[in-house]
């Protein structure tokens, strides 16, 4: 059986299995972990094959896995697995405190597999229409993860999520159709297939491609959280349970970004790199600055991280905008780096919420004394997010600077530096507020989590640091391959 | 009659229990204790009065009560042109209250009329009368080691020879200064023993660096108990000599004021020649006092050259005094009914010659000082006494005239020969040290002219009338003299057997001290001594020193002569025969 087919079916099957399981938490928990490992192992094996150089495709190229997809698939695998493991712990706490019923937990576990399935689908789709559908499907699959609690604010943010993303994605659909109509007949083979479009981009009408890209930017940008169409994101990310936010921010946004990158590749090769780069720079700069100003006044830890997601989407967009081999490399690297970092960040908010019972950082304080490990993990997440060297995100930011320097775009370097500096200052001041000093509000759980409970976080932290200083050859290979595909070199 | 207008106006507002008239321009109104603050405030601010003095008195032997007399000089607020009472209506109105010895309390006037603050503090020190609502209840007159419940001026309090034991200096209780709140302030003490403050008074400057943030002071180091000394013991001839020793510089003004208070009480008119010579003496006193002060104002800024030359000129004024009275400084010629010593024509001629010298030389030196821009910089803008503050605290003399308020007893309440003499009241706007020194200089000039006029107008009459008079017990009167430093007010209540029942001597500087704090603020330490000096505070000098051998605890008192002799010759060491 084709491995790609397995990728799509296994998570779905797992979801169904979870649905029919009896309401026993211990069982659910272990099973969830087990199945998650199985799914991730499968995904990674597929990635492994790509690294070894295999071109995977199925259903007449309807679905395929290239190096670009492999990067994102590995993110789904690694981040997804660790977040899923953390989710079991998190749900245990929620159950203990009676915030949630066991049935809801079961549904949550089951849905998270469906969610994984839809995301995987969006990554491996070669058919652009189908990719659009898959991304829309991720919205639907994830909305239940967000609104798991069924209270008013949960439901409302779920509603907002669906409505806004759908509006946005409608434009993406338009872009898809436009692309198809522009390409149909001008490209060899099926004009719906990404591989074909990319290969024959030069023969498509330039003006049409420009229009396509703008609609794709709005469409996938809404889903990915590029300003000013990001507005749904803070509400939704702040609302759901910590693991959901981690998944949404860590993985889902990247999937939407992948959609945009694919369009980027097509349009860049058709209408020239200058156009896409300029558009992406505008979008990236706008996103960076808007999110950085929003960040300053955020005292809710989850909202803060949500704005961070926007900011980092801005960084990716900026990277794409700076362009060149190094810029693209940086943007893709950033996807991975941000995925790990944001997963860690949101997961640590789970710990923090358990300690303080609040998300308001002005009411925290003294975390380093209460839960040193959580504080350190939180610190690592923040450090990485603001681009402290030695952590993964710095590498990509450094590379973006490098790309700009080599390109000679000194103004861009300046803009980027200013935005990052604002983010840095805004973030660290919040971090210090929560971590040091005296406890400002009340403390609900006055001790460190168990080491086992913290395992996924530590794993993420190790990944962040490792990606920050170490060079993983297979990963670099994937990135280089992808860049080559996009640049057609 | 004078004063009636004020009594009527007061009566319309406040219930007056009793009105008594002491003499033509002095009326006393008795009011209820609780009406006291309003009555004083009304007269002070609404009718244009200045607080001349306040007398606390133990009248338990007379009416079983303590009494307070707030004497107000009704002359108009003088804050702006025309804010003045007509010349023939100026007078003194005294508000009197009786305080029961059971409660010993009365409502404080100070919150309404700040000028009362020292008087009310003193009333507690001396009589134990408590002013309810007085914002500053610290001890004023008595030293800090004085026993708490001993009020010396009560008639039954203590024998005048009795004096409580002194504490060792390191056991003295600390005086509570009004130290400003705020960090980083240094307390700079000025005095009681300080090179520029010849008077023993302690000024505490609260400074930030060289800038004075605020100041507070502790005075009355030389409190000699003179008022107690006079009571029931001295007759009026002796009183004159005692009063002259109140002050070393302007003693003569005290002497006249004291004697005139007694004369006023019995409505005694002294001969015109005596009046003229009293004026001459007091103006000579003004001459040398102002020269001294101008000289010192140069000296404290470090201008020794000007100081030395001004003191050289001052020597002439001393010589002048010697010609007129026979004494260089303490004249001792005032008695009830006139004077003891007359002048000869030769002396008058010689005096006029010296006057000429003083006038020309003083002009020369003054011009030189005025031409020195550095000196002007040290004087101008320093130690400003705000006009309103001066008004609120009833400042007197050059101090208030330097702030642009035309207040001079010689002009407001002409006494003695002044009714016949023309002179201008020196008023300078500005309120700084320069303004005060300028007032002094102008007065110096007018004094010369007054003395000349006196010599010219002086009639050839007797200098004393037969002092056969009879004083009525319990009568009292107020006398006022413009001393070099301002208005000296003496108040005497007659006792039986030609003795004084209560003598209240209020020297000019007493009214100037309370506002000093506001003159200090914002100036520099370097200016502090200058500001005190420009106030021309009253000096109480002594010319005796005591030599103590700390090993044998023996001591010997040296007179001025002994000391000088020893300093010059180094013979007859006083250490030889200590006792």
């Amino acid at each position: 059986m084709n491995i790609l087919f397995l990728i799509l079916t296994l998570p779905f099957v797992c979801g169904v299995i979870m649905f029919v399981m009896p309401l026993k938490f211990k069982l659910l928990q272990n099973l969830h972990i087990l199945l998650s490992i199985a799914v991730s192992a499968l995904l990674l094996s597929a990635v492994g094959k790509v690294v070894e150089g295999a071109e995977l495709s199925a259903f007449h190229n309807f679905i395929f896995l290239d190096s670009l997809g492999a990067i994102f698939l590995s993110l789904i695998a690694i981040t997804g697995l660790l977040v899923n493991i953390y989710a079991t712990t998190y749900m245990k706490w929620e159950l203990e405190e009676g915030h949630i019923t066991l049935r809801e937990v079961k549904n949550y576990f089951a849905l998270s597999f469906i969610f994984t399935a839809t995301m995987s689908l969006s990554v491996v789709c070669n058919n652009i229409a189908f990719m659009w559908a898959a991304i829309e499907a991720t919205t639907l699959a994830s909305v239940f993860l967000v609104a798991v609690k069924k209270d008013k604010s949960s439901t409302e943010s779920g509603y907002k999520y669906i409505v806004l993303c759908s509006i946005g994605l409608a434009f993406a659909l338009y872009a898809t159709i436009l692309l198809y109509s522009a390409a149909n007949g001008k490209v060899e083979g099926e004009a719906m297939l990404y591989t074909n479009l990319l290969a024959n981009a030069a023969s498509i009408d330039t003006m049409a491609l420009k229009l396509v890209f703008i609609f794709a930017l709005i469409g996938f940008g809404t889903k990915a959280g590029l300003a000013p169409t990001h507005t749904w994101l803070p509400d939704v990310h702040a609302e759901g349970p910590a693991p959901t936010s981690a998944l949404l921010s860590g993985v889902l946004l990247k999937c939407a970004m992948l959609g945009l990158i694919r369009y980027y590749a097509i349009v860049a090769n058709g209408a020239g790199f200058d156009f896409v780069q300029n558009v992406m720079i505008i979008s990236g700069t706008l996103t960076l600055f808007i999110s950085s100003f929003f960040l300053i006044r955020q005292h809710n830890v989850k909202r803060m991280f949500a704005y961070h997601s926007i900011a980092h989407m801005g960084v990716i967009a900026f990277g794409l905008g700076v362009g060149g081999a190094i810029g693209l490399f940086a943007a893709l690297f950033h996807c991975a780096a941000h995925s790990f970092t944001k997963a860690l960040a949101f997961c640590s908010t789970g710990n923090i919420a358990r300690i303080y019972g609040t998300k308001d950082m002005t009411k925290m304080g003294g975390m380093i004394h209460i839960a040193p490990l959580t504080a350190v993990l939180f610190g690592i997440a923040i450090c990485s997010l603001v681009g402290v060297p030695g952590f993964a995100i710095f590498v990509s930011e450094f590379l973006i600077f490098k790309a700009a320097a080599i390109d000679g775009s000194y103004l861009l370097m300046g803009l980027f530096a200013v935005a990052l500096a604002i983010i840095f200052i805004a973030d660290f001041s919040h971090f210090f507020l929560a971590t040091f000093g005296k406890v400002e509000g009340k403390v609900e759980h006055n001790s460190e989590m168990k080491l086992g409970e913290n395992f996924p976080l530590i794993a993420l932290a190790i990944l962040i640091v490792a990606f920050g200083v170490w060079q993983f050859d297979s990963f670099t290979l994937l990135l280089d391959e992808s860049v080559k595909t996009i640049m057609k070199q | 009659m004078k004063c009636d207008r004020f009594i009527e106006a007061l009566g319309a507002k406040i219930k007056i229990l009793e009105v008594t008239r002491q003499c033509e321009d002095q009326v006393t109104a008795l009011v209820e204790v609780n009406d006291l603050p309003e009555a004083v405030r009304f007269l002070y601010y609404d009718m244009g009065g200045y607080l001349s003095t306040m007398i606390a008195n133990d009248e338990r032997s007379i009416n079983k009560h303590y009494a307070l007399y707030y004497a107000l000089s009704m002359e108009g607020g003088k804050m702006f042109a025309g804010d003045e009472i007509a010349q023939d209506e100026k007078c003194f109105v005294t508000i009197k209250v009786l305080i029961s010895p059971d409660s010993l309390t009365y409502p404080s006037v100070t919150p309404l009329v700040p000028a009362c603050v020292w008087y009310e503090r003193e009333a507690y020190d001396m009589f134990g009368l408590v002013a309810e609502g007085l914002p500053d209840k610290r001890r004023l007159v008595l030293s800090d080691d004085w026993p708490d419940n001993l009020f010396p001026l009560r008639k039954d309090a203590m024998d005048y020879r009795y004096r409580p034991d002194m504490k060792e200096h390191y056991n003295e209780p600390e005086y509570e200064f009004l130290r400003p709140e705020g960090s980083g302030i240094i307390d700079v003490p000025l005095g009681p023993l300080h090179v520029t403050a010849d008077e023993p008074g302690h000024f505490r400057l609260f400074c930030d660096g060289d800038t004075i943030v605020d100041a507070d002071y502790r005075l009355f180091y030389q409190h000699r108990g003179m008022e107690k000394l006079a009571e029931n013991r001295m007759n009026y001839d002796q009183m004159g000599y005692l009063a002259e020793r109140v002050c070393g510089i302007c003693g003569y003004a005290h002497a006249i004021a004291c004697i005139e208070a007694a004369e006023k009480a019995i409505n005694l008119e002294i001969p015109a020649r005596a009046q003229a010579i009293r004026i001459i003496c007091s103006e000579i006193e003004r001459l040398h006092s102002h020269l001294l002060n101008i000289g010192l104002a140069c000296e404290v800024t470090g201008n020794y050259n000007a100081f030395m030359h001004i003191f050289r000129i001052r020597e002439y004024s001393m010589k002048l005094a010697e010609l007129v009275t026979g004494g260089r400084k303490t004249y001792g010629n005032v008695v009830m009914g006139g004077l003891r010593r007359d002048m000869t024509g030769h002396e008058i001629k010689e005096s006029l010659r010296i006057l000429k010298i003083i006038e020309t030389q003083a002009d020369e030196v003054w011009d030189a000082v005025m031409d020195d821009p550095r000196q002007m910089k040290r004087w101008k803008g320093v130690g400003i006494l705000d006009k309103q503050v001066a008004r609120d605290f009833s400042a007197v003399g050059p101090n208030i005239r330097g702030s642009g308020i035309k207040r001079d007893t010689r002009y407001d309440h002409p006494y003695d020969f002044f009714k016949q003499i023309e002179f201008n009241v020196a008023v300078v706007e500005g309120g700084d040290v320069f303004a005060r020194e300028m007032v002094r200089y102008m007065e110096l000039k007018s004094s010369v002219s007054i003395i000349r006029q006196c010599f010219e107008l002086m009639p050839q009459t007797a200098i004393i009338i037969d002092p056969t008079f009879h004083v009525k017990p319990e009568d009292f009167a107020l006398a006022y003299v413009e001393a070099p430093r301002g208005e000296n007010v003496h108040w005497i209540m007659q006792g039986s057997a030609q003795k004084v029942f209560r003598w209240r001597c209020r020297a000019a500087t007493y009214n100037n001290w309370p506002s000093l704090r506001f003159q200090f603020r914002g100036n520099t330490i370097a200016d502090a001594a200058l500001i005190v000096c420009s106030l021309d505070p009253c000096y109480s000098c002594t010319e005796r020193i005591t030599v103590v051998d700390i090993k044998s605890k023996k001591s010997k008192i040296l007179t001025n002569k002994d000391l000088k002799e020893f300093s010059k010759t180094l013979k007859n060491s006083p250490m030889k025969d200590l006792r």
Binding site: A421 | S183, V213
Partner: protein, 646 residues
């Protein structure tokens, strides 16, 4: 050299692993740090003229290479030397922090900090340099947070914020340089082929980047805040050494640029600015740690003056001036490292004994802590640049540079060198005032607040030993200044070859000492010949004009500077207010001074950013239809703009 780095790393890891046993970790951590840094100091000093290279094995990003040339050796030596003294001191000192923080963490961070500084000096490519540079910043921030005092977080935030802005400047500058050089190894940076405008920009970026770290005005604002907060041993390391690392990097990188004479002028100007303003704020501060911290700004300014001379020399091709300038700067760097770390450690002694940093509460500490007091006296004399101590020696060389530079023809150069000398002399005069005040207010007179010094007692021998050592360095380097200059000149010759050097025309410190010694005999001879009264001295209260003496009568730190604050109020914006309620109440006196640069430079920026942040919130008001509207508007705009204009 890799041994040293590895040892520090291991010590750091070992300490953190002994998390549960803080006391053991503290002994091990600081003890080992002491031994290793002593070894390192000896190692670096003995290899002063070598060049050592070490490549880190493993597949690290951009394969880090560590290279130490002579200059790097000198700075590594400096770091190790000060680290040795500070760790010896910390061995006892950190016990005061037992309750506040985990000593294992402290020890670990301490070692990591030393390591990061050494590695920054040695790192040889852009990525690893940036990484280690920020690591150093971050560890120092954590060291500051050990104290966890009130407002610590905010102060550290200002520190990190400015450091980050600086770091971005550096990153931009280094990357641009790298892009011109065509390689990211610093060894490839030589002979950059760039024009005047670009090299000016790069130079400015480097100056901002390293200057902000070094505490140069106007990027100094973090410095007093951070140093006040941190434990004294950390301040000693930061001020003593970390600043020097920044200066090292500045020298290293700006030498890669093509030289222009304007560099020298810029440095002279900012150096003058820094030293004058630094000392002004040091003078008026009432917190001794803040004073000492501001004096770091001042000394950095002085160092920049020396460097300014050096760069002027390079720019005009006058090697003699360049040589003198570099020697002066390095000499002052060396001296400042010694006396500043000494002063910070001494302030640590004072703080542990008294628990207050307010000089208006101290006084009379000499009687309780005589040795600390005497060492402080030496340190104060030395930082005031008084002969015959080391501060004077290096300032003299700087003066020499300035005078030599000022002879040259040319209005501009004369102007800048004259400016530098004037600034240095003003600094000198005010340093006298500042440090006599600090010394006087802390150690002399009588206690202003008796409570604070009641329980004070002299610190232990172990804490005094390193202080004594550094104090003897102060004296020793001062006296043997010409030898030190000789050593430094050899190092500088590796930077700018083809110059011959001599100390001709230099002053000779031993002769100054000899003359002073000669003079010292005279008074005793006179006293003996004239048979002076040698009776026992009678002890009394201080003279208070015959009034009872009160301890508030002695001058305090604040009142001492009253006049100068007034005189300088055009800079300090000194405001004072006396409030009085009615005629008879106590006055309330308040006064404050402003940090000129904070008010004029930082405040408006922060304010406007905060304003935007506040206003921007209205766009995110939770209304879904509005959000949908944004999407449409954005679409329209980007269509119009993106489609038609790009």
């Amino acid at each position: 050299m890799q041994t040293i780095y590895t040892l520090f790393l291991l010590t750091s890891l070992l300490s953190i692993l002994l998390y549960k046993k803080p006391l053991l970790a503290q002994k091990l951590g600081f003890g080992l740090a002491c031994v290793i840094s002593l070894y390192a100091a000896i190692f670096f000093f003995s290899n002063l003229k070598e060049t050592l290279i070490w490549e880190l094995p493993g597949n690290f990003i951009s394969a880090p290479v560590f290279r130490l040339d002579s200059l790097g050796m000198l700075f590594s030596f400096l770091v190790s030397l000060i680290a040795f003294a500070v760790s010896l001191y910390s061995f006892e000192y950190v016990k005061f922090y037992e309750k506040k923080a985990n000593l294992a963490v402290f020890a670990s961070l301490f070692n990591a900090f030393i390591l990061s500084m050494l590695l920054v000096i040695a790192s040889d490519n852009v990525f690893s340099f940036m990484l280690l540079w920020e690591l150093m910043t971050l560890i120092s921030a954590l060291l500051i947070l050990i104290n966890d005092g009130k407002g610590a977080a905010k102060n550290v935030m200002i520190y990190l914020g400015i450091a980050q802005i600086g770091a971005f400047c550096l990153m931009v500058a280094l990357l641009i340089m790298a892009s011109f050089a065509g390689g990211f190894e610093f060894s490839a940076f030589d002979e950059l082929n760039i024009g005047f405008g670009m090299s000016m920009t790069l130079f400015s970026l480097l100056l901002i980047g390293f200057g902000s770290k070094a505490g140069m005005f106007p990027f100094h604002v973090w410095l007093p805040l951070a140093y006040c907060q941190s434990p004294s041993n950390a301040s000693a390391l930061m001020s003593g050494v970390m600043i020097k690392v920044a200066l090292f990097a500045f020298i290293k990188f700006s030498l890669f640029l093509p030289q222009f004479v304007q560099f020298g002028y810029i440095l002279l100007f900012f150096g003058a600015l820094s030293c004058v303003f630094g000392i002004i704020y040091a003078l008026i501060s009432n917190d001794y740690k803040a004073s000492i911290a501001y004096s770091s700004c001042e000394n950095v300014g002085i160092i920049f003056l020396g460097l300014g001379g050096a760069f002027y020399g390079l720019g005009t091709n006058s090697p003699m001036i360049a040589l003198l300038g570099f020697i002066a700067a390095l000499f002052h760097i060396l001296n400042h490292a010694i006396f500043k770390s000494l002063l910070f450690m001494l302030s640590g002694n004072v703080y542990t004994a008294t628990k207050t940093r307010d000089m208006d509460a101290l006084g009379g500490l000499h009687k309780k802590m005589p040795i600390t007091s005497i060492i402080f006296f030496i340190a104060a004399l030395s930082i005031c640049a008084l002969p015959p101590l080391n501060g004077f020696a290096s300032e003299w060389v700087i003066y020499k540079t300035m005078v030599t530079g000022g002879i040259e023809e040319g209005v501009v150069s004369r102007f800048f060198f004259a400016l530098a000398i004037i600034a240095l002399s003003i600094t000198g005069a005010m340093a006298i005032m500042a440090f006599s005040k600090i010394y006087g207010a802390i150690f002399l007179g009588i206690a202003r607040d008796t409570k604070s010094i009641e329980e004070a007692k002299e610190v232990s021998f172990m804490m005094l030993l390193p202080l004594g050592l550094l104090a003897s360095f102060c004296v020793g380097i001062g006296i043997f200044m010409n030898d030190v200059v000789g050593i430094l000149s050899k190092i500088v010759l590796t930077l700018i070859p083809q110059t011959n050097v001599s100390t001709y025309g230099f002053i000779s410190m031993p002769i100054i000492l000899m003359v002073m010694f000669l003079c010292a005999i005279l008074p005793f001879v006179f006293l003996y010949l004239l048979k002076a009264n040698n009776k026992e001295v009678r002890i009394t209260d201080p003279w208070a004009c015959g009034f009872l003496y009160n301890k508030s009568m002695q001058i305090g730190s604040n009142a001492f500077t009253g006049d100068i604050r007034k005189a300088l109020s055009f800079i300090l914006k000194y405001e004072s207010e006396i409030k009085l309620d009615g005629y008879f109440s106590k006055a309330v006196y308040t006064h404050k001074t402003h940090d000129f640069f904070w008010d004029k430079l930082y405040e408006p920026v922060i304010h406007s950013i905060m304003l935007i942040a506040d206003k921007i919130g209205i766009f995110q008001n939770g209304r879904t239809n509005l959000y949908a509207g944004y999407i449409l508007i954005y679409l329209c705009l980007i269509l119009i703009f993106g489609y038609y204009y790009i």
